[in-house]
C-alpha cells in the first residue's frame, strides 16, 4: 500500500521529463549549442527528473539520474560537459544525503554507533584510506547510498527539496561564470599589451571586453580558425566594443607571435591531468607560444572540468565533414575519391603547454587541477 502510486500521475511526470530529455538529446546530436548552454540545459533536464520523482528515495534518485545521464552522455560522447554536469548533480545528491544523514545520526545516536557517523563525515571531505576502505567493504555510509532498507526511514522529507535548491544554485553558478572570470581580467591584461586569441570563445570575449570597459587600452590579434572562420565574428564584436582587433590567418600565428605578449583562449573541456581539449589548431598556437616564451592562458568555468584522462590526440576527437575543405562540383582534386580529407574538430593540449587557468574558482596552475576533482565529483561516479 505504501508503494502504490496513482498510474496517471506517474505517466504525466515521466512524459514531462522525457520531453525535456528528448529535446536535449536532439540538441546534443545536432551539436548546435555552446558548452555553457549545454551545461544549463543538462542541469535543468536533470532538475526536472528530480522534481518529477515520487518519494524521497535517494537510491532511486541516484539511479534515475545515472540512467538519464548515461543516455545524455552517450548522445554526444565528445561533449564532456554533459557528463560533468551529471556527475556534479550526483555529487550534490550524495553530499546532501551525507549532510542530512549526519544531522539525523547526531539526533538518533542511541540507534547507531558513533563510528558509523565518523566515516560518513570523512567521505564528504578529503579522500583518504578510510573512505576507500569503507567503500570497498561496502559499509553502510552516506556517500555511496548504503542499504536500501534504512534509507527510506532515515532520510528526512526535505531531502529532495535540498537537492533541488542545490541544483538551482548550480545553474546560477554556471550562468554567472563569465562575470566571475571577467572580474580577474584587470589583473592579467595591462596597458598596450598585444593579446592573441583564437577563434570564438564567449568567456574570453567577455574577459577582454571587461578590461576595455574599464578604460585600459590594449590590442587584440584574432586568429580566424579555418575552416569555420569563427575568429571573424569574434574580431568584429571586439572591434565594435572599441578594442583594436586585427584578424590573421592560422598560418600567420607563428609569424605574429614575435609581437604578442599573452595568449588567452577558451576550451571545451579541462581534463583531470590539467590538459585541455580545445578547437583544432590550438596545439600549434600553444607550441608557438612556448617557443616565443609567451604565456598561454586558458579562461574557463570549472563546470568544464572532466574526471577523465587523455591518452592521445584521438581520445576525445571527432572528424567533422570534409565538405568545408572541398569545393564540390569543380575540378578540385581534394574532392576525388582517392584523396583523404581530414577535418578534426578538437586538439588535446598537454598541461606542460598551459601557463595558467583562469576560472570562476580563481587562478590555478595546471598541476593543481586534479585536486579540484574532489571538490566537484565523487569517486563512485567516475563511470556513469
Amino acid at each position: 500500500r505504501g508503494q502504490y502510486r496513482p498510474s496517471h500521475q506517474k505517466i504525466l511526470s515521466m512524459a514531462e521529463y522525457h520531453q525535456k530529455i528528448d529535446q536535449l538529446l536532439v540538441k546534443l546530436k545536432r551539436r548546435s549549442t555552446l558548452s555553457k548552454d549545454l551545461a544549463i540545459l543538462t542541469a535543468e533536464a536533470l532538475l526536472k527528473v528530480v522534481t518529477g520523482l515520487k518519494g524521497n528515495n535517494p537510491h532511486k534518485m541516484i539511479e534515475e539520474i545515472r540512467t538519464i545521464g548515461r543516455k545524455l552522455a552517450e548522445a554526444a560522447p565528445s561533449e564532456l560537459v554533459v557528463g560533468n554536469i551529471v556527475r556534479r548533480i550526483l555529487f550534490i545528491v550524495r553530499e546532501e544525503l551525507a549532510n542530512l544523514q549526519q544531522g539525523s545520526k547526531v539526533e538518533v545516536t542511541s540507534h547507531k554507533d558513533d563510528d558509523q557517523a565518523a566515516p560518513s563525515m570523512l567521505l564528504r571531505s578529503v579522500p583518504s584510506l578510510a573512505n576507500i576502505l569503507a567503500q570497498d567493504i561496502g559499509q553502510p555510509d552516506g556517500a555511496s547510498g548504503g542499504a536500501g532498507s534504512d534509507n527510506v526511514d532515515s532520510v528526512p522529507s526535505n531531502f529532495k527539496q535540498a537537492v533541488i535548491v542545490q541544483i538551482r544554485e548550480l545553474v546560477d553558478e554556471i550562468e554567472g561564470i563569465r562575470e566571475q572570470i571577467a572580474d580577474q581580467a584587470m589583473e592579467h591584461i595591462h596597458a598596450n599589451e598585444v593579446i592573441l586569441t583564437c577563434g570564438q570563445s564567449s568567456t574570453v570575449e567577455y574577459f577582454l571586453r571587461e578590461v576595455a570597459k574599464r578604460g585600459r587600452k590594449f590590442e587584440v590579434v584574432v586568429s580566424e580558425c579555418a575552416p569555420d572562420l569563427e575568429g571573424h565574428a569574434m574580431a568584429l564584436r571586439l572591434a565594435k566594443a572599441g578594442i583594436s582587433a586585427t584578424v590573421i590567418t592560422d598560418a600567420a600565428i607563428f609569424a605574429i607571435m614575435a609581437r604578442v605578449n599573452k595568449v588567452f583562449v577558451g576550451c571545451s573541456a579541462v581534463l583531470a591531468n590539467g590538459g585541455i581539449i580545445a578547437t583544432t589548431g590550438l596545439q600549434t598556437v600553444a607550441l608557438a607560444a612556448r617557443h616565443h616564451s609567451v604565456p598561454f592562458v586558458v579562461c574557463t568555468g570549472m563546470y568544464k572540468l572532466a574526471p577523465v584522462f587523455p591518452h592521445d590526440q584521438y581520445s576525445f576527437n571527432e572528424l567533422k565533414s570534409p565538405a568545408q575543405l572541398v569545393t564540390l562540383g569543380s575540378d578540385d582534386a581534394a574532392a576525388s575519391r582517392e584523396v583523404r580529407v581530414l577535418n578534426p574538430s578538437s586538439d588535446y593540449i598537454p598541461p606542460e603547454l598551459v601557463s595558467l587557468f583562469i576560472t570562476n574558482a580563481g587562478g590555478h596552475n595546471p598541476s593543481y587541477i586534479y585536486r579540484l576533482l574532489a571538490e566537484y565529483y565523487s569517486m563512485a561516479d567516475r563511470n556513469l
Binding site: E224, L236, V247, I253, A255, T280, Q283, T284, A333, R340
Partner: protein, 435 residues
C-alpha cells in the same frame, strides 16, 4: 661611375675607384665591381664594405622613413593608393590597396619608358597570376631579355659601353615598376644584381649586336643553370632521401618540392603525401592536383589539423623563397608553423632551395622582412563590411621566417647542406658573381 667603368674595362691602370656614388643601385654596383677589379688582390674587408654600401644586402627602402620616402617619390614610376587600414607592426613595409587599374597610374615622364613586356609582367605580378619564386624570376628575366633584344642603338652610339650606359638607365624605372606592382622576392633581387653586374661587365669596345646577343645568352644560361638544372639536381637529391613507406608532409606549393615528389614517384618509391594548406591562397590544392594526377597517395588537411596527423609523418619537405645568412628560411607564411610542429615531434625537416635564392641578409623574425597582401582576401561573409568598423584590421601576411633550429637539412644543387652552410655557399660560390 661611368668613368670608373671605362677605366675598369680598360684593364687596370690609373684612377682609384671613386667613392660610393649617391645615385641608384646600378651605378653603385658598377663602382663596387670596378673597385674590385682595380684591386687585384681583392682585399676582403674593402670588398665587404663596398658590398654593404652598395647594397649586397639590398638597398631596402623603409617605408616609415619620411626622408627616404620623400626622395623615392621623386623617382616614383607608379602611383599606388596607400592602404586604408595599415597595420602598425609593418609600417616599414609597403601596404597598398589593390588597384583597379595599375597601368593607368603610371607617371607620365620622359624617363618613364616601360617596355610592354615588363608592363604586362607587372600587372600579372600584381594580380598574383604568376606565383612562386622560380616562376617569377624566370618570367622577369625573359621579359628583360626581350627588353635587351628590342633595344635600338642611336647613331654613333653602338659600342658595348653605350649599351651598358643605356641599359642601366632603361632598367631602372622598369625595376621600380615591378617593385611597385609587387615587392621582389629574394631570388629575383639576386638575379637583378647579377644582371646589373653582367651589364656593367660588357666589353666597352664590343659590337653592340654581339653585346646584346651575349647578354641574352647569359640570361638564358642563368635561368638554365640556376633554376632548371638546379631543380633537376635537387629533385634527384631529394628523391634519394625518400624510402618506401615514407609519409611525407608538404606545405602549400613549392616547385622544388613538387619536382622532388614527382621524381620519387617516377623512380617507383612507394610513399604517401600529406598536403597541408591554408587560407587565403589555398595553394596546396594545386600541388594536390598535380600529385594526384600521377597517382600519389594523398591526404589533404588545413594547417590547424597538423597536430592530428603529425604522429604518422616521417619526413617534412618544405620549399623556400629565400635563405638568409643566419640560416633562417623565408618561405610562404605557415611554413614556420609546420617546421615547428615537425621539430617538436622529432621529424626531419628538409628544405629544398636553389642557391640563387641565398641572401647575405641576416634577419631575426617574420616582422623584419615580409610582404603584405591584399587584406580583402581574408574576407568572409561576416567581414564583408569590415572597413566600416573603425577598430578592425585585416592582416594578410605572405611570408614568414623559419628559425634555423627547426631546419634539419637544406637540399641544393650543390648537395645536401646543413642550414649553417648558407653563408659558406655565398662566400665560395658567389664571390665571383660578377665574373
Amino acid at each position: 661611375a661611368q668613368g670608373a667603368v671605362r677605366g675598369g674595362g680598360g684593364g687596370g691602370g690609373g684612377g682609384s675607384a671613386p667613392a660610393a656614388p649617391k645615385s641608384g643601385g646600378a651605378g653603385a654596383v658598377a663602382a663596387a665591381v670596378a673597385a674590385a677589379v682595380n684591386k687585384p688582390s681583392g682585399d676582403a674587408k674593402e670588398l665587404a664594405k663596398e658590398g654593404i654600401k652598395s647594397g649586397s644586402a639590398g638597398i631596402r627602402l623603409h617605408y616609415d622613413d619620411p626622408k627616404a620616402m620623400a626622395k623615392a617619390k621623386k623617382h616614383q614610376v607608379v602611383q599606388r593608393t596607400e592602404g586604408q587600414r595599415k597595420v602598425a607592426w609593418f609600417s616599414h613595409l609597403p601596404q597598398y590597396e589593390r588597384e583597379a587599374s595599375l597601368s593607368s597610374q603610371l607617371a607620365q615622364r620622359a624617363d618613364n619608358d616601360i617596355h610592354p613586356e615588363v608592363l604586362k609582367l607587372g600587372l600579372k605580378f600584381a594580380d598574383w597570376l604568376i606565383v612562386g619564386g622560380n616562376r617569377r624570376t624566370v618570367a622577369m628575366l625573359e621579359a628583360f631579355a626581350q627588353v635587351v633584344r628590342d633595344y635600338m642603338p642611336a647613331k654613333d652610339h653602338d659600342t658595348g659601353a653605350d649599351l651598358t650606359r643605356h641599359l642601366d638607365a632603361r632598367f631602372k624605372p622598369m625595376i621600380s615598376y615591378l617593385v611597385a606592382c609587387r615587392p621582389l622576392s629574394v631570388g629575383m633581387g639576386n638575379a637583378i644584381r647579377w644582371l646589373k653586374a653582367k651589364i656593367a661587365h660588357i666589353p666597352p669596345t664590343q659590337n653592340i649586336q654581339e653585346a646584346k646577343d651575349g647578354l641574352c645568352a647569359h640570361m638564358e644560361g642563368y635561368i638554365y643553370e640556376h633554376i632548371d638544372l638546379a631543380d633537376r639536381i635537387i629533385s634527384g637529391h631529394g628523391a634519394s632521401k625518400l624510402r618506401d613507406d615514407d609519409v611525407v608532409l608538404v606545405y602549400a606549393r613549392s616547385s622544388a618540392v613538387e619536382s622532388v615528389l614527382l621524381r620519387a614517384q617516377a623512380d617507383g618509391t612507394r610513399f604517401r603525401v600529406i598536403v597541408v594548406d591554408s587560407r587565403p591562397k589555398l595553394e596546396g590544392k594545386q600541388l594536390l592536383k598535380r600529385l594526384h594526377a600521377v597517382g600519389v597517395d594523398c591526404t589533404y588537411i588545413m594547417i590547424n589539423a597538423l597536430s592530428y596527423v603529425m604522429k604518422e609523418v616521417t619526413k617534412v619537405f618544405l620549399g623556400a623563397s629565400g635563405m638568409l645568412s643566419n640560416g633562417h628560411v623565408i618561405s610562404r607564411v605557415g611554413t614556420a608553423t609546420v617546421a615547428m610542429m615537425a621539430h617538436t615531434s622529432k621529424v626531419p625537416v628538409l628544405v629544398c632551395c636553389e642557391t640563387y635564392k641565398f641572401s647575405e641578409k641576416v634577419l631575426l623574425d617574420s616582422i623584419c622582412t615580409n610582404e603584405l597582401g591584399d587584406p580583402d582576401e581574408l574576407q568572409s561573409r561576416e567581414l564583408s563590411e569590415w572597413r566600416d568598423v573603425a577598430d578592425m584590421k585585416l592582416l594578410n601576411l605572405v611570408y614568414d621566417l623559419t628559425p634555423i633550429d627547426f631546419v634539419t637539412l637544406v637540399i641544393t644543387e650543390l648537395g645536401n647542406l646543413p642550414p649553417t652552410s648558407v653563408p659558406v655557399v655565398i662566400r665560395e660560390y658567389r664571390k665571383e658573381v660578377t665574373l
